[in-house]
């Protein structure tokens, strides 16, 4: 089963988006090469297996590369227009305006407490359960208002999945962790294949294929996080939100997750919050830099292609943050 099997999108999807996907990998790889080498030196990580080597090893193929400079106009998945978030009287983030593109990995970076996780959680309405939460401005998903009164919250989450910072597998077997939500959604046929596909998609299949019925709690941290990714993609969402997915993991597990993101990009739209700038450089096509403004309210400072943001940041605050980290 190939990753680019397009049973995901129904009629009317944008073919251009699907084709541009692997191009992003090449572009991000090229732009991040310098940073990546530095990161690998500092992290002491073994060299990552490039996607090309994976293909050579007979793993799922992707569409042919497309030169990014001749980039097609990408479909926009999320449109944020002057979005602000209040918890009761307190304003957490203000005037965030950005577009998130399909089949891109978009990174949200910035210092702690600047609202990047808050904004991420707005994208699938996970902030709704926090008392006093209210959203201002407009947040559109494929042109539909996410916070419209008629928008069905559960439906939103079905299309926009989330993986959390700390791996949170259910106290069930590995198989049931993945099958549970799918069963709820009525996907009962071919569950074994679905589980296998999800585990392969999360690069976990080989490690657990012999113990699918054992408890998920017996897995290592990195495996649990990949399990969480597997169960999210098992229900075939449109978007995957990743909230600092590797921050609780060791460098090797982190590298595996980053590899994964490159593969997942082909099929899903990824938005990832990370406090690790090198990770953003390695993984993201576009990066958004969040920070606190003068009134200590989080806001979007700069948003651009990753290579441009890191090499020629337009805003001095971005430059300060980036150089501060390297220093």
């Amino acid at each position: 089963m190939s990753l680019s099997d397009s049973s995901l999108v129904g009629a009317g999807s944008v073919a251009a988006g699907t084709e541009a996907a692997p191009g992003s990998e090449g572009a991000a790889g090229a732009a991040a090469a310098g940073g990546q080498a530095a990161a690998e030196q500092t992290a002491g990580v073994r060299p990552r297996v490039r996607l090309s080597e994976r293909i050579a090893a007979g793993q799922p193929a992707t569409a042919p590369s497309v030169n990014r400079t001749a980039a097609v106009e990408r479909q926009v998945v999320f449109q944020s227009r002057n979005v602000s978030v209040d918890y009761g009287e307190k304003r957490a983030i203000d005037s965030v305006t950005m577009d998130i593109n399909r089949n891109y990995a978009t990174a949200l970076i910035g210092p702690s407490g600047c609202g990047k996780t808050t904004f991420l959680r707005c994208l699938n309405r996970m902030n709704d359960s926090i008392p006093g939460f209210s959203l201002g401005g407009e947040l559109l998903y494929h042109g539909h208002d996410l916070y419209d009164a008629r928008a069905n919250r559960v439906e939103v989450r079905r299309r926009i999945g989330m993986v959390f910072q700390k791996p949170n597998p259910f106290p069930k077997s590995i198989y049931d962790n993945i099958a549970w939500a799918a069963r709820n959604l009525g996907m009962r046929d071919g569950m074994d294949e679905r589980v296998e596909r999800a585990l392969r998609g999360a690069a976990l299949w080989d490690e657990v294929k012999d113990r699918l019925k054992s408890s998920a709690m017996g897995l290592s941290g990195g495996q649990q996080q990949r399990l969480c990714i597997a169960r999210s993609i098992a229900i075939e969402p449109d978007v995957l939100l990743l909230d600092e997915p590797a921050s609780a993991l060791d460098p090797i597990a982190t590298a595996l997750i980053e590899d994964l993101i490159h593969e997942l990009k082909a099929r899903y739209t990824i938005v990832i919050v990370t406090h690790n700038m090198q990770q953003a450089m390695r993984v993201a096509d576009k990066t958004a830099f969040f920070s606190l403004d003068e009134s200590r309210i989080g806001t979007l400072i700069e948003y651009d292609d990753t290579d441009k943001l890191f090499s020629r940041p337009a805003d001095s605050r971005t430059r300060d943050y980036i150089t501060g980290q390297f220093g």
Partner: protein, 326 residues
Amino acid sequence: MSTLAPPQPSPAQNKRAVLTRLNNTDRRANRALKLLALAGGALVFLVLIAVVYQVISGASLAFDKYGFGFIVHKTWIAPANEYGGLTFIYGTLVTGVGSLILSTILGVSIGLFLSLMAPRRVAIVIGPLVEMLAAIPSVVLGLIGIYLLLPFIHSDIEPALHSVLGFTQIFGPAQGAGNSPFAAILVLTIMVVPIIAALTRDLFLTVPRELRDGAEALGCTRWEMIRGVVIPTTQSGITAACVLGFGRAIGEAIAVALVIGGVPAMHLSVFMSSYTIGSVMANVAPSAISSLETSSLFYLGAILLVMGITTNLAAQRISSRAGRIR
């Protein structure tokens, strides 16, 4: 002439001074406190043993006469000096299980409501109100049961249940004034629901936020999250709470005595007056005539004690095992 300050005591000397500052009075007082505390704990233990001993020795007369056959012997006729415990054991189990079923359904629902559904301000008000139900003295509950519940049960609920479920034999025709195990089950439910509700509410609040978030992020409805994540995670705790509730139900004497009808007979229908161990002890003990009768009551008490201790220990083991898994 030396202008130096007098030599300061060394740290070691200071420490010694501190230790010896713990003078004799302090040391004696420490020991006295420890002894007193130990005495408290020992007293608790001793009283328990004394209770068991007393009940068993009180039952010895009856046990000598009947042996273990008492447990399966049905007849209890005081004037004929013939005693057997089966009817009461049966009644205790029927009322216990009946109220367990009802109070589990209601109690767990209320526990879910208070922990996961209700907004905080509502839960803070409703929670204590539900706990108040447990504070009502059993004699008052029995009194209200007689005058408020029994007529209503007799005229409305019993006929309705009989017409719908009468084929099961459990819901026979309504009879008498409504004094029955069914009425006792309702009264016991009122007493046990707050226990299960409070325990399960605390239990559900311990389910980590991240597990619930994880379920919601997968596009599941609230009910699916509860059924698929919350309840499986707290299964042992719920069982322990139910076992505790069962223990409370079988131990209740006064409220049951007032509404159950006091007839030592076993019936399949829960609408026929009957008896439980607790209620017969409460009704008969004050006016027990012969020492054999009193001893038989103690025998029943011993059986109830065994049931009570077993359920209590079971509840403790279930919840401690759950704690170990986490």
